[in-house]
């Protein structure tokens, strides 16, 4: 008659321990998942910033190639050899710098466009082209060779 309540007490004790273990496991698991999610979000943000910066750099080079008629920045670049522009997109501010350089040939110039931004998170790396670096540089050259445009009558 006296064994039944003792067994019940023992069973209740086991359930409590199992619940504690389960809670600890759940906590650990969730912590890991949350950490992973945070890193993923940060990486996704960095990649988005890098892609945006790349698009800005390419747009700037294409624009500067097209000349002053289509790109107002090219006029400044032609006169001073440098141009600067700031754009804020999706909460990130991008600093765009363009610079002309001499090449040793009269009809050829070097052009470097650098886009800088403050990267998401604290990831840093020595590779200037990696997403966490906050900088992208594209280098190209421009030759001043005319395009023949045939005169047409309206």
């Amino acid at each position: 008659m006296s064994k039944r309540p003792e067994l019940a007490r023992q069973a209740q004790g086991f359930t409590l321990i199992e619940a504690l273990v389960a809670a600890a496991l759940l906590g650990l698991g969730m912590m890991g998942a949350i950490t992973l999610a945070m890193h993923s979000l940060q990486a996704a943000g960095s990649s988005r910033q890098q892609s945006t910066a790349l698009a800005l750099a390419q747009n700037t080079i294409d624009c500067l190639r097209s000349g002053p008629a289509l790109c107002t920045d090219s006029a400044a670049l032609a006169s001073t050899g440098q141009m600067q522009e700031t754009q804020t997109l999706s909460g990130t501010t991008y600093q765009i710098n363009g610079e002309l350089a001499l090449t040793g040939m009269a009809n050829l110039q070097g052009l470097q466009v650098t886009v800088e931004w403050k990267p998401t998170g604290t990831t840093t790396t020595h590779n200037p082209m990696s997403p966490g670096s906050g900088q992208i540089a594209l280098r190209t050259r421009l030759a001043s060779i005319p395009v023949f445009v045939q005169a047409t009558t309206p």
């Binding site: 069973a11 496991l25 990486a43 750099a57 030759a143 045939q150």
Partner: protein, 407 residues
């Protein structure tokens, strides 16, 4: 359910939940990693593309420099390995262009090739640049066509006659030659005596009486060709007196009227390029430009009405006398004799049978029996390469709309 089982079930459920959360986390991380790799690849690809662009621009600047220093040596080589797969026909001349390495290629290896069609468009080059990065396996390529000063537009001055001279013409034996002037619609000679165009035109006839005009008698004295040879074709001389061609300062009036802005150096270089490529009358396409320095008699029939040729017998070939064309030889196209304004160098010449036009900056005394001059309207096709109207053909210029990225 027994009470102890509930604990085990709870543990199992929690473990499953943790596993599920871990799997979701892992897949998310993998997706983010792919996105990151993709973003990186985008940067590498953009960098390779811009490096290829830089190589193309450097190549164009180098080509401008080459043509300003030594315009006729740029195409003195051919390397078939440099021809892209779409340009492997015998008419394509290809070469590589080595660029200076004094600039930051960001680890890319560069390859620049220049190609041109030496028959249809020797004045247009396709420049193709490629940048490869051995580390990240990115590559970019870009191409653009440019006009080169390797030829020029032929111009509008076109004398519609099978024989254009800058001096007098006479037959060695009267009535022994044959001229076929342009027909009524200037498409070709009829050869039936009903021709109405010009059989012979000279840009110079002596003003014998010194009155400043070239009379009919003076015209007949200069162009002494029997009517039976002319087959109804007309003789044309200037209406007024012109300066006699001076061998010491032989001008290029005849050359210019025929070739326009294309110079003898251009023709010579294109002829050499076609020979370098192994083009001949038997290849497809056939050789179209012949610059001849040899004084030996010419006995090769070349040209067809649909693919006429141009033969230039140079001053070297005509050093003593211009080479005859064998009586049985048929030339379809244009023949130019560089007599240096000396009638003696064209004396006793035989034309074979030329369908097109013969031109020379002197007279043609004692033209040999059997010579035939038959008009062909498209005789300048071999050197009438397509040029935009009003272009300055002396400069390297980009062909509008020819820029293309990728292969």
């Amino acid at each position: 359910m027994k009470v102890p089982d509930r604990g085990a079930i709870t543990l199992l459920m929690v473990t499953l939940l943790v596993l599920l959360a871990s799997m979701v986390g892992l897949f998310t991380a993998r997706s983010i990693l792919s996105e990151r790799l993709s973003a990186n690849n985008g940067v590498w690809a953009a960098q390779a593309q811009q490096t290829a662009e830089a190589a193309l621009e450097t190549a164009l600047a180098n080509i401008v420099q080459s043509f300003s220093i030594a315009p006729n040596t740029f195409w003195s080589t051919h390397d078939p390995q440099q021809c892209l797969s779409a340009y492997t026909g015998i008419e394509w001349q290809c070469r590589s262009l080595l660029l200076d390495t004094g600039w930051d290629t960001q680890g890319h290896t560069l390859q620049v090739r220049v190609m041109r069609d030496v028959v249809r468009a020797p004045h247009v080059a396709l420049v193709h640049a490629q940048a490869r990065h051995p580390g990240n396996h990115s590559s970019g390529q870009v191409q653009q066509s440019i006009y080169l000063p390797t030829a020029g537009p032929i111009g509008n001055a076109n004398q519609l006659t099978p024989l254009l001279t800058q001096g007098c013409v006479n037959e060695a034996i009267a009535g022994s030659t044959r001229f076929c002037a342009p027909g009524a619609n200037q498409t070709g000679c009829s050869g039936n005596g009903l021709s109405i165009g010009t059989a012979i035109q000279t840009l110079y006839a002596p003003d014998l009486d010194g009155n400043g005009l070239i009379s009919a008698a003076e015209q007949q004295a200069c162009l002494k060709v029997n009517a039976s040879s002319l087959q109804g074709g007309a003789l044309v001389t200037p209406a007024t007196a012109t300066l006699a061609p001076n061998p010491a300062t032989c001008d290029s009036a005849v050359w210019n009227s025929l070739f326009g802005q294309t110079t003898p150096a251009h023709i010579r270089a294109i002829s050499q390029a076609q020979a370098l490529k192994g083009l001949s009358s038997l290849t497809q396409p056939a050789r179209s430009v012949y610059w001849i320095d040899s004084p030996a008699e010419w006995s090769q029939s070349v040209g067809t009405p649909s693919a006429p040729v141009v033969l230039v017998f140079s001053a070297s070939a005509c050093a003593s006398q211009c080479p005859r064309i064998s009586p049985s030889t048929q030339i379809v196209g244009t023949v130019f004799l560089d007599t240096q304004c000396q009638d003696s160098r064209a004396a006793l010449w035989h034309s074979g049978s030329v369908s097109g036009q013969v031109a020379l900056p002197s007279g043609l005394p004692n033209l040999q029996a059997g010579s035939q001059f038959l008009w062909l309207a498209n005789h300048r096709q071999a050197f009438d390469w397509p040029w935009p109207v009003n272009i300055d053909a002396t400069r390297v210029q980009r062909v509008r709309g020819s820029w293309k990225s990728g292969g």
